[in-house]
Subunit: 397 residues, 2 copies
């Protein structure tokens, strides 16, 4: 109960975060096999390297690192990030197009702060990342879901929704999407950039999983087709170095970036310099490409192990076959209820997330998201065997 | 110019941040003596110690530090912070009353997000910290200034404003205030807590300078008188360890903290674990008290040097005599214009901030803020001599 006379803001109406937070409390139980989170594998976290990088950075430039920095970023990191991005992507970009973030999810927060009014419409994939749905809801955005198929968002449905709802933004995760693991087909990317230019809305391209590709060829981001600067690209080092450092970035038109920097001032003034300096050293020493190369095989093996297990699930079990990322999305027969199965699964020592949480309008109670990155191969086999038995029971009861 | 069809949010109407940002570009000029920022002294930043602490933390607990953490904080830091706060303050507090922040300024952002609606009123000191005025304005708060004297905010004026405006919050910096350096008198503290309980508004007690005391006795925070849990206390390690790490905290009633944690999720999910772990080590090894003891004498000397210089300024120069903190506030005769003097001062190699930026309603063009912490003693003498000459010229022209 709040103190006398104190009330929540209207924007917090219906915001509880409790569904998922409750799950994460369950995960703390000893021995729990968790397919629930979106955590990178512990094995993939370069703690010994980072220990040296953080120390070296503080010894070499500690007075600057420990002092107040610019919202626009720790200068050596802005430089190495710029070089990294310029060598990774084919779209032109200058330093004024880049803003370091405290995790890429901060990008959506500052974009909402600077560019949306309550009651504006944002188009989202259905299903989509629930954390960012919460952010959009706190900014009182009207979320309009747009249907997808195996190739990602459906262009005709998207254009219909754009015409009908005049959205401020489209929020989209084009590569190894959360929660589905799907990748937006190459031929659907350019038309999205063109649609944004034609109708005048921002495309928020959230691309944190891009470098975790286990098969197939990399596709150009939507941003590469962006002639009109309507696309804001958000990237992250969370999945390829460390999420605990909280370092990501956004790329966009200079005036958009400038306003987002002002929005970020109140949030945290600037991203922690020690975190920026550690990632800077990682980039500067050429450690990123070999590190990704080193971690990808184990992720590939985990994905394949989980897919192998899913192939033995009861008839009627459908699931995505991602080429990368951290997640598989499972659709069970209509009569299955993932929320009820979750309760029983937890009792048997396995956790996942019910798919309903990822749908803007809820429903889809027969779906669930499985994460494979944060479990060992034996845990994947054991956990999936438990789920197979449980799901069979559920379907036959 | 923004891309076609893209518009700023209404809340960004009139938000530019440019006045102060322009000043900080000036500071980059070589040889500039800056009394403008709020930076700790470079000498006071423990970079070599932090280099070892960051490395040790990553070697000892790197897998957890580099992994996603809880919004509620890196567990060892929550523990050491709780111990530190419990031994520092006399108000009861549990871990659920504490939220680590990415700098204490994030506290106001999440409080505004969770507890204010556009058009609500926030009472502020006049003058007050301009960064947080910008945050309040972005959240479309109506800022109502309340007059202060040498002992801080005037209680009768405060109660009149509370009755007239029914504010959601009072934002107050009770100790070595920014920009004035003033400290709220002991006997005005309890009545503020009582007023909050009586009328039902939140007191946001922003107290980052508290430990930088050079004379006089420490006073209890307003929070110590808070029987009704209307006071939210914000503290920071920015001025006593490092601002570049971005680690602060808020203390408040458990339900307030829980909602602020949800508001923080979208901002940065959690404060960078490496930053939290470094401060944790600083606390755990008992380094904080001796570090503060070590840095205070140099700050005291700088304050006294600047006050000594000010004593030789032209007749009619009035200024505060702080017992701590980073700032002195100067009031010149009415005909003086700090903005014009600033332009000339910069040409002569000295920077400060015009006082007008700190007043919610502007005006007060004869005032300015001087920072003494970030200059050497010779720079203080040289810079103040330049200002003395310049201000004399301005007054006599």
């Amino acid at each position: 109960m709040l103190p006398n006379g104190v009330q929540y803001a209207d924007r917090f109406e219906g915001i509880s975060g409790s569904a998922i937070r409750a799950i994460f409390k369950v995960l703390a139980r000893p021995g729990m096999i968790s397919f629930a989170g979106g955590n990178p594998s512990s094995d993939a976290l370069p703690n010994e390297i980072c220990a040296e990088l953080a120390r070296d950075a503080l010894l070499a430039d500690g007075k600057r690192i420990l002092q107040y920095g610019a919202t626009e970023g720790y200068p050596p990191f802005v430089e190495s990030l710029h070089q990294y991005l310029a060598s990774t992507y084919r779209f032109p970009l200058d330093k004024e197009n880049i803003l370091p973030l405290s995790g890429s999810t901060q990008g959506l927060d500052v974009l909402c702060k600077a560019f949306t009014n309550p009651g504006d419409t944002v188009l989202v994939e259905s299903p989509t990342f629930l954390g960012n749905m919460q952010t959009l809801r706190i900014y009182q955005q009207k979320l309009v879901p747009v249907d997808s198929d195996e190739q990602g968002i459906l262009l005709d449905k998207l254009e219909q929704a754009v015409i009908a709802h005049k959205p401020k933004m489209l929020y989209i995760i084009p590569t190894f999407q959360n929660p589905t693991g799907r990748t937006l087909a190459a031929e659907r990317r350019k038309p999205i950039a063109e649609m944004a230019a034609k109708y005048g809305f921002l495309v928020i391209e959230d691309d944190p999983y891009r470098d975790l590709r286990y098969s197939g060829m990399p596709l150009p981001p939507i941003k590469e087709y962006d002639q009109s600067e309507h696309v804001v690209y958000m990237g992250s080092f969370s999945k390829i170095i460390s999420p605990g450092l909280r370092v990501g970035y956004m790329i966009g038109q200079a005036d958009i970036i400038a306003k987002c920097a002002i929005a970020k001032q109140g949030s945290d003034l600037h991203t922690s310099n020690i975190a920026q300096a550690t990632v800077d050293q990682f980039l500067r020493r050429g450690l990123l490409a070999p590190h990704i190369e080193a971690i990808v095989p184990a992720y590939r093996e985990k994905l394949n192990a989980m897919l192998t297990e899913l192939a033995t699930f009861p008839t009627g079990t459908a699931y995505t076959r991602p080429e990368g990322g951290l997640f598989i999305f499972v659709t069970m027969p209509e009569r299955f209820h993932a929320g009820e199965a979750f309760q029983k699964a937890v009792e048997r020592g396995v956790a996942f997330v019910s798919g309903t949480h990822f749908y803007p309008d809820g429903g889809h109670h027969n779906t669930l998201r499985l994460n494979f990155s944060n479990s060992t191969l034996p845990q994947i086999r054991e956990g999936m065997a438990i789920l197979r038995t449980l799901f069979s029971e559920s379907l036959n009861s």
